[in-house]
Symmetry: C2
Subunit: 192 residues, 2 copies
DNA sequence: CACATTTCTTAACTTAAGTGAACGAGTTAT
DNA sequence: ATAACTCGTTCACTTAAGTTAAGAAATGTG
């Protein structure tokens, strides 16, 4: 499981054995059961999550309804807004499946960044990459219809459709579960 | 105009006179006329844009139609995806108004980051902040209707509604210009 | 100034998403 | 084993966005 992490890091920077040990000594690997809520609305937390295995989701509760806005799977990380500005969280984070996560906090980040400057370089590159990806996703979302979004999701993240409940996918696509059902039926209809 | 930049930077890190001069010596201030296209689809460019004054917009041309997905105004920066992965750009960037911009490129970034490590720290913090803001925006977009989005835009960026043409705002809100007109009429109707 | 172009609005019609309700299948709890 | 709950689907109905077209207002150009 550690290899997964170091393989990922090696795409960005090279680590010595000493540096690897320094990271391992932080002891931030966590195995977490499906359904566990990692962060609740209103809560203040410094924790950041990086998924080594499994899937976590971010959701709001608006007028009593769950609105899922993002999923994070293998080698994707979530830094909640509340960890940055130290304000109460607006949303929840929970495990869609049994997970292995890296759970780090800002203090550890500061410590490791000051010890290993190249770590900061990696974090900056990662943020910039993620930001660019995020912007492309947002652009695609804005410029397409729910049906197009669903078809594109089938292409780009086919695993999500399997591992995530439909009603969570629906709000991820910006629509209601009933609309997703109908939309799927419409697509099947068209094919035939 | 330089003070605008240094005031902004001072929110994140403190600069010595020497460092300020090093930045000024890069000579990256540019005055640009309204309507100028800074980046075209298909073009490869390393340039990054930071708005000191004015407004730039990012748009796609899909099936012959302009789809505006983002505006950047004072103290906001755009690092096009093509500048990161060195691939042809998917979109256009143009000036909505006469602008004063900082136009930098990746090489200059590398140079200044290696000379002044604290600059890299600022860039990382800026990316992370921007990423978090971006995610909140995306979440809001997903969880609300076009009408709610428009009302929220009036609250959060009232200037945009004044300085940007309606049809560009429409695609920014994820709808057609005609729908925005109708939606506005509907809101006025409700008020009375 | 007059002409062309762009921008915004309105209208009628079509299409798709939201809403409320009901149903069956599968799961969990008692 | 039965009851309670969740989840996905379907249906009928409502509401709003997409589409096509037309015209008015504002802007830019020769």
């Amino acid at each position: 499981m550690q290899d997964l992490l170091f393989d990922f890091i090696s795409k960005y920077i090279s680590l010595t054995e000493g540096e690897k040990n320094a990271i391992l000594s932080l002891d931030i690997f966590r195995s977490i059961k499906k359904g566990t809520i990692l962060l609740k609305e209103g809560q203040k937390s410094q924790d950041e999550y990086f998924v080594l295995k499994g899937c976590i989701r971010k959701y709001y509760i608006i007028d009593g309804e769950e609105k899922t806005t993002a999923f994070f799977t293998e080698m994707e990380g979530l830094t909640p807004h509340c960890a940055i500005n130290n304000a109460p969280s607006d949303y929840y984070v929970s495990c869609v499946e049994d997970c292995v996560l890296l759970i780090s906090n800002a203090d550890m980040g500061v410590e490791i960044n000051s010890k290993f400057p190249k770590f900061e370089t990696m974090c900056r590159i990662l943020s910039e990459e993620l930001l660019a990806k995020q912007q492309i996703n947002f652009d695609e979302f804005k410029t397409s219809s729910p049906e197009q979004r669903y078809l594109s999701l089938i292409q780009k993240r086919p695993d999500l459709i399997q591992r995530v409940p439909q009603h969570q996918l629906a709000s991820f696509l910006g629509i209601k579960p009933q609309s997703l059902s109908r939309l799927r039926a419409r697509i099947v209809e068209k094919k035939s």
